[in-house]
Amino acid sequence: MLQLLLNGAVTGLLLSLPALALSLSFSVLRFANYAIGSYLTCGAYLVYLFNVLFGWPLWIAASVGALGLATLVVAIDYLAYRPLRKRSGVTLLVASMGVAIALENLVRLFAGNSPRSFDVAVARPLRFGGLRLNYEQLTILITVLTALVLVWIIFRLTRLGRAMRAVADNPDLAAVRGISRGQVVASVWIISGVLTAIAGVLVGLDANIEPQMGWNYLLPVFTAAILGGIASPMAAVAGALTIGIAEELATLVMPPHYRMIVAFLIMATLLLVRPWGLFGTRWVTR
């Protein structure tokens, strides 16, 4: 039981980075980016490229890969989303689906369909009493917690964080207070890109790297973000933990391959009962 909770918490932490990235971009741009799954895939493959083909140690490969993905994400925003920003949110949704399909198949074109894995040494799991924590889980735990603390600091305590929250709160007022929306948007995409790339590496460590990997995470990531009240980034983390633990506990009554159905059921129930999110207080509206 305790083991299940631990595994669930680790799964949740894994989800929390892309969920945070998703709700961060939603809060500033007011559009749900369906390409987030394919960003995750691209991130994992970029890091794979540096790690396996160039032979760099994983952490260097991951840092460079994260910056690479951030650049890609900003470029996609510039080319694909920015020209559509004045249109309805629904148009952006469809465009992001187009981006997702293009990216996923770009990966398939260059890397093929077969699963791959990073070049890391296999280590034996650690044991604490009856609890088993394998090396990948430990990596996930430490990396995600560090990333979350850093994002929290940026978000709460820095000038950039205030600018992001201001634009999310009231874009027009932010503009007349001297905040340049373009810079905030770019920063948000950079942070999202870095977080998503890290998540891609961690998913790749935990399982395999394959073109479909990000797509499989799309539903739980959206559910986590909605659970947190999609426009409040930090609450998305709580949402992700809930999903992770719920998915893990559900394996007691359901076969493990139905995890996604758990996420869907949670989302459907939530949307019917508390559409503003489980943790988010109702976003104070203007």
């Binding site: 369906y34 629904v90 869907f264 459907a268």
Partner: protein
């Protein structure tokens, strides 16, 4: 060569039907259905399962249409209290879960083994060598019927209500019409059409398994609507029978281009679909077709009646 042509045309005609369904939901109604392929898959499976149980193909088809219509409408209800944005993720989630369910519930669907030996309509009446041609004819008739029905709907008062809901839900509510009812009905009708398309898919392949159904089906439908011009049924038909035909036709390039395998070719095709979708939304937001009437005229005529 003729066999290729018939095969491609049948697939394109089926895509046209999904495009028409999406044109009703998204084009006219502004409702984003990313789970389109799930409803399509459901149609194929219900129809396939019924026929292998010995139900006559036409009855299976009707059964598939009705059940998909019902389920589709129910799914739209999950977002009772929310804007259309959430409809996108709910439908997508539903579709993905359905795919999982079908892949693993082997007692019902035979899982990844798939269902073989699906009987086509009028199978006994046509000679075997003309079977594909007959099915193409059947599919084209279905396209024509769906087109006719949707055109009639587009010009009916309900069609105006749907367009008005897309443009300004608040106005529609203020006039005492329920936006939710509109959404429910649009998803029911769209679901029936997708059930039809899925059934035709099952008839065409006579064998179905979960790998045949992917979000790519959704992407093609969106492509058809974006090129055709949101709201224009004629535009959707024209775009599927030109661009999608070319895209689908490129499958057969495998035999001619030496260095490309079929999976590379598929990847390139889908990159083009994805990038093309974005590009078209940017440079040609209204597509190449035209909606029957301008949206503004629509609201005005609606508010005045």
């Amino acid at each position: 060569m003729t066999a290729y042509l018939i095969a491609t045309l049948t697939l394109v005609a089926i895509t046209a039907i999904t495009g028409l369904a999406l044109n009703l939901q998204w084009g006219m109604g502004g409702l984003v259905n990313f789970g389109l392929f799930g409803f399509y898959m459901l149609g194929a499976y219900i129809c396939g399962l019924l026929t292998v149980q010995g139900v006559p193909p036409l009855a299976s088809l009707v059964g598939a249409m009705c059940s998909v219509a019902l389920l589709s409408a129910l799914v739209s209800l999950i977002t009772v209290r929310l804007s259309e944005d959430y409809l996108a993720i709910v439908t997508l989630g539903f579709a993905e879960c359905l795919r999982l369910f079908i892949s693993y519930e082997e007692w019902l669907t035979r899982g990844t083994l798939g269902i073989a030996g699906i009987e086509r309509p009028f199978q006994g009446l046509v000679p075997a060598q003309l079977a594909d041609t007959a099915l193409l004819a059947f599919t084209l008739i279905a396209v024509a019927l769906v087109y006719g029905a949707l055109q009639a709907l587009a010009f009916s008062p309900f069609g105006r209500l749907v367009r008005a809901t897309r443009e300004d839900p608040a106005v529609v509510e203020a006039l005492g019409k329920s936006v939710l009812t509109v959404r429910f009905k649009v998803f029911a009708v769209g679901g029936a059409i997708l059930g039809l398309a899925g059934s035709l898919h099952a008839f065409y392949y006579t064998y179905i398994d979960p790998t045949q159904f992917s979000p790519i089906i959704t992407a093609y439908a969106f492509m058809a609507v974006v090129i055709g011009g949101r709201g224009s049924n004629r535009g959707v038909l024209i775009s599927t029978f030109t661009l999608i035909l070319v895209l689908e036709g490129s499958r057969f390039l495998v035999d001619w281009v030496p260095h490309l395998g079929s999976s590379e070719l598929a990847a390139i095709r889908l990159i083009l679909v994805g990038a093309g979708l974005v590009l078209l939304l940017i440079i040609k937001p209204d597509g190449f077709g035209k909606e029957p009437r301008s949206a503004e005229a629509e609201i005005r005529s609606f508010t005045s009646t």
